[in-house]
């Protein structure tokens, strides 16, 4: 059988970085081929070459056994290759439908046929069981829904090769299930799918084969079903990882570090009250749009509040801006690193120092760059941030490494209360366990930590206590190690955006 795509000997260098060294990859039709590797291993770069975003320095690409030169996204599309990018590439001011069909708008003569456009988009959404109005501007959508729009866009090309670069990083379980149903269907139609993810459990569920990369090089290709996860992880990181579970310390006697009472704002936040003790990790679970991010942003002063009070160490504080919050000792790592986390044009060093410049300001306001460099390099080592130097621009880092930079920023700021919103989004498994260790260590030092995560296993593994939200309400607290069903019950007092129940599906088709 001639492979759909075969890439061999691919080299690619960026200034200061050799991203790929003789990488290779093969995709058969009708298979889901997972591409695995640590952050910065070169997965996205390899797939960008296949989809015409970059051109390889050397190497050969065969499509249907014939040599192909892919000099741009258009050529890739013509060859039947489409891609869902890791970093969302949407036109914020356009609607969902307009985004999906950009460049291929249905027309009536000279004019755009907006009705047909929306109809076609609606049809795609329906086939994905996605309840989304095609006429909404994507700007007003959550990242998760924006991700769904990207998926819809990729599907609309009806390609033979579909590359998905971390499509589930922003999705919750229901949405992931729906995506997998779609993948199964495409697979049955003979579409070849490249699937990049850091979520190991997904491999067993959908992948047929797994190719592992490390440091831009090809490590090996193994069948997914027969290979133990541990083996794949070892191929990725070059060592075995131990799989610890949370050790829940007894914090009942510790003083309360942060308490919120009756936080409210419209329908987004409804009467939310909770408390976190020093040394405690409070996990927040919930479905997409449950309001966890809203609560965190409101506590942090990033968005206004209508009612409620916030107490730090038992005293009431007024927080009107992030500056107030940080002064009160609260740090917040945003779920959207690109828009809210990184100064993308600045280098790694300055991004890490961004929240703590004052500590590097010497006499007469002059910055101590040497100290900044040392600190930055310390974090680069501690978090294994893959970057040619601390003066590399943050936007040139791989997605996962960007996330680590933002984490470093808050670690450096060293707040007694830390809110992490989706801290491991896009982070590889090795680094993830590093970050878990770090969070545990921070808690052990007496910091109060809130972790918001859409990955239930993550919440379960980290939390000393679990808060569950739904529709802006805190629907309950659960102890560490609570069964997943209990969490889901509290989290699903209303249906998620994706309709998973069978009757609905029938009604839609």
């Amino acid at each position: 059988m001639i492979p759909l795509v075969s890439m061999t000997g691919i080299d690619k260098s960026f200034p200061g970085v050799r991203a790929l060294k003789g990488a290779q990859f093969e995709l058969l039709s009708g298979e889901v081929h997972a591409l695995m590797g640590e952050n910065g291993a070169g997965k996205s770069t390899l797939m960008k070459i296949l989809s015409g975003v970059y051109s390889a320095d050397t190497g050969q690409i065969l499509v249907d056994g014939k040599p192909a030169t892919i000099s741009g996204p258009r050529e890739a599309q013509a060859l039947g290759i489409s891609i869902i990018h890791q970093e969302l590439a949407l036109m914020r001011d356009l609607t969902a439908a307009q985004n999906i069909f950009i460049g291929r708008e249905p027309r009536r003569g000279f004019l755009l046929d907006e009705a047909a456009l929306n109809r076609d988009a609606e049809a795609i959404f329906r086939s994905m069981n996605l309840a989304l109005d095609p006429r909404v501007p994507v700007e007003s959508l959550t990242i998760a829904k924006q991700q769904m729009v990207e998926i819809a866009k990729a599907l609309s090309y009806r390609s033979r090769v579909l590359i998905m670069d971390e499509p589930t990083a922003a999705l919750n379980d229901a949405e992931i299930n729906e995506l997998f149903t779609i993948i199964e269907r495409l697979k049955a139609e003979g579409v070849g799918i490249v699937y990049i993810s850091h979520k190991m459990d997904e491999l067993k569920r959908i992948a047929d084969r797994v190719t592992v990369m490390r440091d831009g090089e090809y490590v090996g290709t193994v069948p997914a079903a027969l290979t133990p996860i541990e083996t794949i992880i070892q191929m990725m990181v070059g060592r075995t990882l131990s799989n610890e579970t949370a050790v829940v310390p007894d914090t009942a006697a510790a003083p309360v570090a942060l308490e919120v009472r009756g936080l409210s704002r419209g329908r987004e936040i409804r009467d939310v009250s909770f408390a976190v003790r020093k040394g405690e990790i409070l996990g927040f679970a919930g479905l997409m749009g449950a309001g966890r991010t809203e609560v965190a942003r409101a506590i942090f002063g990033a968005d206004p509040l209508e009612a409620g009070e916030i107490l730090v160490d038992g005293t009431k504080v007024t927080i009107r801006s992030p500056q107030d919050a940080v002064r009160a000792g609260i740090g917040y790592l945003s779920e959207d690193r690109k828009h809210f986390g990184l100064a993308t044009g600045m280098d790694v060093r300055n991004n890490i120092a961004l929240a703590s410049l004052r500590r590097f300001t010497g006499a007469a306001g002059v910055l101590r760059d040497g100290a900044m460099r040392q600190t930055a390099q310390g974090f680069i080592k501690q978090l294994a941030i893959k970057t040619p130097s601390d003066t590399q621009e943050a936007r040139l880092l791989s997605g996962g490494n960007q996330q680590k930079v933002v984490i470093a920023k808050w670690l450096l700021r060293d707040c007694p209360i830390l809110i992490f919103d989706e801290p491991t989004r896009g982070i590889d498994i090795g680094a993830k366990s590093e970050i878990y260790k770090l969070l545990n260590a921070l808690a052990a030092q007496g910091r109060a930590i809130i972790v918001i995560s859409s990955e239930l296993p993550e919440v379960l593994r980290l939390s000393h206590r679990i808060a569950v939200m739904c529709e802006g309400r805190l629907t309950g607290f659960l102890p560490a190690g609570a069964p997943q069903q209990d969490i889901m019950r509290l989290a699903t007092l209303r249906p998620s955006a994706v309709e998973t129940s069978e009757p609905n599906r029938k009604a839609a088709s």
Binding site: G72, D93, L112, R135, V136
Partner: protein
């Protein structure tokens, strides 16, 4: 802006959409406030003749501002609109007066000159990747010089083309309804506004105009020929500027080669006052029209009140800031 995630409730969507309309209405209400204040302050202000004078005074800047709007929505900027306008007027003069061509040739020639210049600017931006600010700054100077060269640094008069002054100064409406002698220049402004609104909202070119300003890289990654559309946008803007050139030449019955520089600032100001963001992706022709009207109402009203000129300038500056600030306040409250 509502942030609630339920997306399929029509009421919400309707809310979002009508809030857009409401925004425009608000900028409009800023204009209304000005109108009310001035008409209370001077009985001469709301006379038909003065209203027509204000509209007539808006026509050239309005058309230029519409051209600037198109480019600004892509996230670019066009500094050459002022001198290009003059260049187009001079081309009309050369064709009609120096070469005795018939009127339609002059009209088409001016618009074509604008289009070609826009094509060149667009090519410099899209193909040579020169930032729009520099590309159009260069074009501004080139066109300014060329206008002087071509015209021999002398105004060209249209005395041999009797119909020419009718383009802006005649009144088709007035010949039907004598009580309402709306000059053709104003008619043309509204026509251009309608056509460009239509192009922006209903055609592929319009769609890509917004898409480019929203996220050019994403458009490129979608396999769209970004360069071609971008050049198209500048060319469209150029042809609109050609119309402005005809309007000003018709009003002055001459092509004045020295005029034009500085007009770009008024045009861009109208665009920004009208709510179009300089970072691209959003903007409306209606907003720009209102912005241009605010500028001419201010100028006219302060003159009618015989405010000393140096104070006119101060007050204009203040009101521009206040008008935009008021708009921001209201939007925040929504």
């Amino acid at each position: 802006m509502s942030t609630i995630a339920t997306s399929d409730r029509p009421s919400l969507l309707a809310g979002i959409r009508s809030s857009g309309a409401y925004h425009k209405l608000l900028a409009f209400s800023g204009l209304i406030v000005l109108l009310v204040v001035f008409s209370l302050a001077s009985p001469n202000f709301l006379q038909t003749a003065n209203v027509l004078a204000i509209l007539q005074a808006t026509s050239v800047n309005g058309v230029l501002a519409i051209a600037a709007t198109i480019v600004i929505i892509t996230g670019g900027i066009d500094l050459s609109v002022g001198t290009l306008m003059t260049f187009c007027a001079v081309i009309a003069g050369v064709l009609l007066t120096n070469n005795g061509m018939p009127l339609p040739v002059g009209v088409l020639g001016a618009i074509l000159a604008g289009t070609v210049s826009g094509l060149i600017s667009g090519t410099i931006v899209a193909k040579l990747k020169v930032p729009p600010f520099i590309a159009t700054l260069g074009m501004m100077l080139i066109l300014k010089g060329l206008s002087l060269v071509i015209s021999g640094t002398k105004p060209i008069y249209f005395n041999n083309t009797p119909g020419f002054t009718q383009i802006a100064q005649g009144s088709l409406i007035g010949s039907v309804i004598p009580a309402l002698p709306v000059p053709n220049g104003v008619l043309i402004l509204f026509l251009v506004a309608i056509v460009i609104s239509f192009v922006l909202s209903k055609t592929a070119l319009g769609r890509y105009t917004f898409a480019l300003g929203s996220n050019e890289e994403a458009v490129r990654l979608s396999g769209v020929n970004v360069d071609r559309w971008k050049i198209g946008v500048y060319a469209l803007a150029g042809s609109v500027v050609g119309i402005a050139g005809l309007l000003i030449a018709s009003r002055l019955n001459s092509a004045q080669p020295a005029l034009g520089q500085g007009y770009e600032l008024d045009a861009i100001a109208a665009v920004v006052i009208g709510g179009t963001s300089l970072s691209g992706g959003r903007g409306t022709v209606l907003g720009t029209l209102i912005g241009a009207l605010i500028i001419s109402v201010l100028a006219n009203g302060l003159r009618i009140l015989s405010v000393a000129q140096e104070w006119q300038t101060v007050v204009t500056g203040l009101i521009i800031i206040l008008a935009v600030f008021a708009d921001i306040l209201r939007r925040r409250k929504l």
